[in-house]
């Protein structure tokens, strides 16, 4: 060992000492230039082609544009009509709201398989004769509360009961469907006379678009804002990206997890209102396999299933791609099996592309 003082021997003028502790080793003005001097190394902003790759979601937008071209070529008369666009958006709205919640959960490092079932349960609960007797507003509140409540249960089981998210929400999926069947006696419950306000969400139009599309837009905007502009959003990325680091930084990871699932449940409740509006019914069969569509949309949108990375905009683009494909198949009169095969392929291609871009960035 050469010196008890440390790894480097003090050299030269002790006069620098007088400047105070921090100044002691501050590089002098010409050395500060190091940063700029090494400009040849940190080659500033990358050039155009590289920057194009950085435009977020470029691939998704391109895919969507491609699908639009396919639509214009194969079914020129029916695809680009106003009514078709409206129907695409209306179709996307319900799962879209769910997708926003699912994006939060997945960025936070979890997964929610119960979304479709919870939506069904909320729709059933809100359309029982007892609930309906209080009028449409109570129905809405009921749906939202049931959704959020189911989400809270999920979150609590996962955060404090230490169940794996996959298991906890799978259990909720089964149980919520069961409860919905029980409450409705497996019958489809119509929205009663006097409560048409709910249905008006789908029939009333503002600037050509049904109200439920605005609800969808509102949820997306709210989701984006929360994820990108609030502490809640930041913490979501942290909790999903590195839970141990989040914990040691003083974030209450468990409580945050509960809120994430509650948020997802809340979105299911809102989706339940939208589906009641569209179908004028509450039913235990609503939302079958929505969880798969929502998760697929999130993944196509570039959110990592392992958490810590992703975006709302990506998820919504992913969802629109899915919805447009469905629409194209219907307009072209192709059968639904082919449609499923096409969707499966798209998921694989999207993930492969993402893996490539992940690798090139590390």
């Amino acid at each position: 060992m050469e010196s008890a003082k440390g790894p480097v021997e003090a050299a030269e003028s002790p006069a620098a000492n007088a400047k105070g502790p921090v100044e002691v080793v501050k590089p002098s003005a010409d050395e500060r230039g190091r940063g700029e001097a090494s400009g040849h190394r940190s080659a500033g902003r990358p050039g155009w082609p590289a920057r194009l790759g950085e435009v977020p979601h470029l691939g998704l937008v391109a895919a969507l544009a491609l699908l639009a071209v396919v639509g214009l070529v194969t079914v020129p008369d029916s695809f680009a009509t106003g009514s078709n666009l409206v129907s695409i958006l209306a179709l996307a709205a319900t799962i879209g709201v769910i997708t926003v919640g699912a994006t939060f959960v997945i960025i936070g490092g979890g997964i929610d398989l119960s979304v479709g079932a919870v939506m069904a349960l909320a729709s059933v609960w809100a359309t029982t004769l007892a609930t309906q007797s209080y009028g449409p507003l109570v129905m809405i509140v009921c749906a939202v509360l049931v959704g959020a409540g189911a989400g809270l249960v999920n979150g609590w089981l996962i955060a404090y009961g230490r169940l794996v998210p996959f298991i906890a929400t799978l259990a909720m999926l089964v149980a919520a469907r069961g409860l919905a069947q029980r409450m409705s006696d497996r019958k489809t419950q119509l929205v009663q006379q006097g409560n048409e306000m709910i249905v008006e969400l789908s029939t009333t139009r503002l600037l050509g678009l049904p109200l439920l599309v605005y609800v969808f837009a509102l949820v997306v905007v709210a989701g984006w804002v929360v994820l990108n502009r609030t502490t809640f959003g930041r913490r979501t990325y942290a909790v999903g990206g590195n839970p141990e680091a989040a914990r040691l930084a003083g974030i209450d990871v468990r409580r945050h997890t509960v809120w994430l699932y509650a948020l997802s449940g809340l979105c299911c409740g809102i989706a339940a209102v939208l589906i009641m509006a569209r179908t004028t019914t509450g039913s235990s069969t609503h939302g079958d396999l929505y969880e798969l569509d929502a998760i697929a949309a999130v993944i196509i949108g570039g959110t990592l299933l392992t958490g810590g990375r992703g975006s709302i905009v990506g998820s919504i683009l992913g969802l629109l791609i899915f919805t447009v494909i469905t629409n194209l198949f219907i307009l072209n009169g192709l059968n639904t099996s082919d449609q499923l095969i096409a969707k499966g392929l798209i998921i694989v291609v999207a993930v492969l592309l993402q893996r490539r871009s992940l690798r090139s960035s590390t």
């Binding site: 060992m1 790894p7 002790p14 680091a245 930084a249 003083g250 960035s361």
Partner: protein, 502 residues
């Protein structure tokens, strides 16, 4: 091949990352049987260079010659087949697998496709014994091991191949003093057999002890080749590395004992099986150092104080008790912890430097949950400058920074928001000499402003140079307390080693 023809020759290696030219024409020449040290500041390109050598990165330009023949190292497997094995700076073990499975990952001893687990375990046990760590069981899950033990495992992995060249990227950063000696013993064994070692470290005294020749990198270029490791003056090496002279490593201490209020009082702190009945206090403006071997309970004490572990006993911060097992409360009480393992315990690798820095002080930038991102960015930028994080771009994902610069980002997180008590676990791990001095100065300045600091370091000189008061820990008990000025390195080393089996 004659005795003196180089084993490895790298010429004009260039590696460009998006936005950064990490290597800009590097030359490296390694002779058989020598320990060749690679020196350079954080971000100079050392790890990138050895990754091109390990087949983990493909160089954009340049040639690599191994044993006289030009080679292309297209993948890590290709490099291993050619006899190059690597111990990476950031540990790359699979936590869910056992020690033996990790050691033989990718080249499992197999018969008819069945993994010969017994054989792997036996071979692993032999390797670990050779490394002086017979106590690590081959069947233990790696996730349960301490950082130091993991380092030993990755060393065993490197030794499990037939190699001509072993690359070690800061192998000693996670090791305590006695373990470094052990490491050196193994390096000497290897070089005696003609194996060459490329050794990276920021601890110059190690270079002196083990190195034969030194290559210095600066800003992605070779600035000096083949300097004699033993007797090139420190000043010359440092100025080659940094392009300037580092005046003082440690800032001057304040005179006299600390008289501030007590910020931390620990009484009878016990975590069964790890440490017992630990009591001490830290005053405002005081830096208290914990000296001890890895495994002596230093990190665990710090984690318990922070509430990250269940404990019995009392921890009081400014008169208010810390709850066991809840870090949120600790942060609210004004504590901050820079943990030992930056990657696993501190960083959000995908996120920007800014977001990593502000993580623990989001509350400060928000109003009703709404973030003031401009203020956040301003503060982060200021810290990037103060700590000289390079490249000085707060929007870069943290994973693209070099190891030492990542460490600075971890510290920056706690410098940001007025902490009353900072718990620093190996704060300068992997930080280069120049930047260390800057960090020390920042820590001292914080203390001068009234922050209490509890510091853990494997480097005794660091504890003695920076701390006001030192607690010496052995096997989970405090065996000595004294002012840092009254201790010297040898005495402290004697105390922490005495009675330990090694």
């Amino acid at each position: 091949m004659s005795e003196n023809s180089p084993l490895l020759l790298m010429k004009g290696i260039v590696k460009q990352f998006p936005g950064v030219r990490a290597l800009d024409g590097v030359d490296l020449e390694v002779l058989p049987g020598e320990v060749h040290c690679l020196l350079g500041q954080n971000g100079a390109g050392k790890s990138t260079l050895i990754k091109t050598l390990a087949g983990a990165h493909q160089p954009d330009e340049g040639t690599i010659t191994l044993g006289g023949e030009p080679v292309r190292l297209s993948s890590p497997i290709a490099a291993i087949r050619l006899g190059i094995s690597t111990i990476y700076q950031e540990l790359d073990l699979v936590e869910g697998l056992s020690v033996a499975e990790n050691v033989f990952l990718g080249h499992e001893p197999a018969r008819l496709g069945f993994v010969g687990q017994g054989e792997a375990n036996r071979a692993t046990r032999a390797l670990l014994a050779r490394l002086g760590h017979g106590e690590i069981r081959p069947t233990t899950q790696v996730g349960r091991l301490s950082p130091a033990a993991r380092q030993v495992v990755s060393m065993a992995r490197a030794l499990s191949h037939d190699t001509r060249l072993i690359i070690m990227d800061e192998p000693s950063a996670a090791l305590a003093h006695d373990e470094v000696d052990n490491l050196f013993r193994i390096i000497r064994e290897l070089t005696a057999q003609g194996v060459a070692v490329v050794y990276i470290s920021h601890r110059l005294e190690e270079i002196r002890q083990i190195g034969d020749r030194v290559t210095v990198l600066k800003d992605g270029r070779t600035v000096a080749v083949g300097l004699p490791a033993k007797d090139t003056p420190t000043r010359q090496i440092v100025s080659l590395m940094t392009g300037r002279n580092v005046e003082h490593v440690f800032p001057p201490r304040r005179d006299g004992p600390a008289t501030g209020e007590e910020v931390l009082r620990v009484e009878g702190l016990t975590v069964p099986g790890v440490f017992a009945d630990v009591s001490f206090a830290v005053r405002a403006g005081e830096i208290v150092g914990l000296a001890g071997l890895v495994g002596s309970g230093r990190s665990e004490i710090i984690e318990a104080v922070y509430g990250a572990r269940r404990f019995s006993g009392r921890v009081v911060v400014e008169g208010r008790p810390v709850r066991r097992g809840g870090t949120t409360g600790a942060v609210r009480l004004g504590m901050g912890l820079a943990p030992e393992e930056r990657k696993a315990q501190a960083l959000l690798l995908d996120q920007s430097v800014t977001r990593n820095i502000s993580l623990a002080s989001l509350g400060r930038y928000s109003r009703f949950g709404w973030l003031d991102r401009r203020r956040e960015a301003e503060d982060a930028r200021a810290l990037v400058e103060t700590l000289d994080i390079r490249p000085p771009d707060p929007d870069r994902p943290v994973k693209t920074l070099s190891g030492g610069n990542q460490q600075k980002a971890v510290l920056a997180r706690w410098l940001l928001n007025g902490r009353k008590l900072l718990l620093l676990d190996e704060p300068t791990r992997g930080v280069d000499v120049g930047a260390r001095a800057e960090l020390y100065a920042v820590i001292r300045e914080l203390a001068e402003k009234g922050v209490g600091v509890l510091l853990v370091s494997s480097e005794v000189p660091e504890v003695l140079g920076l701390a006001d008061r030192v607690l010496v820990i052995r096997e989970g008990t405090i065996i000595h307390q004294a002012d840092a000025g009254d201790l010297d390195e040898h005495r402290v080393l004697d105390m922490i080693m005495e009675g330990s089996a090694l």
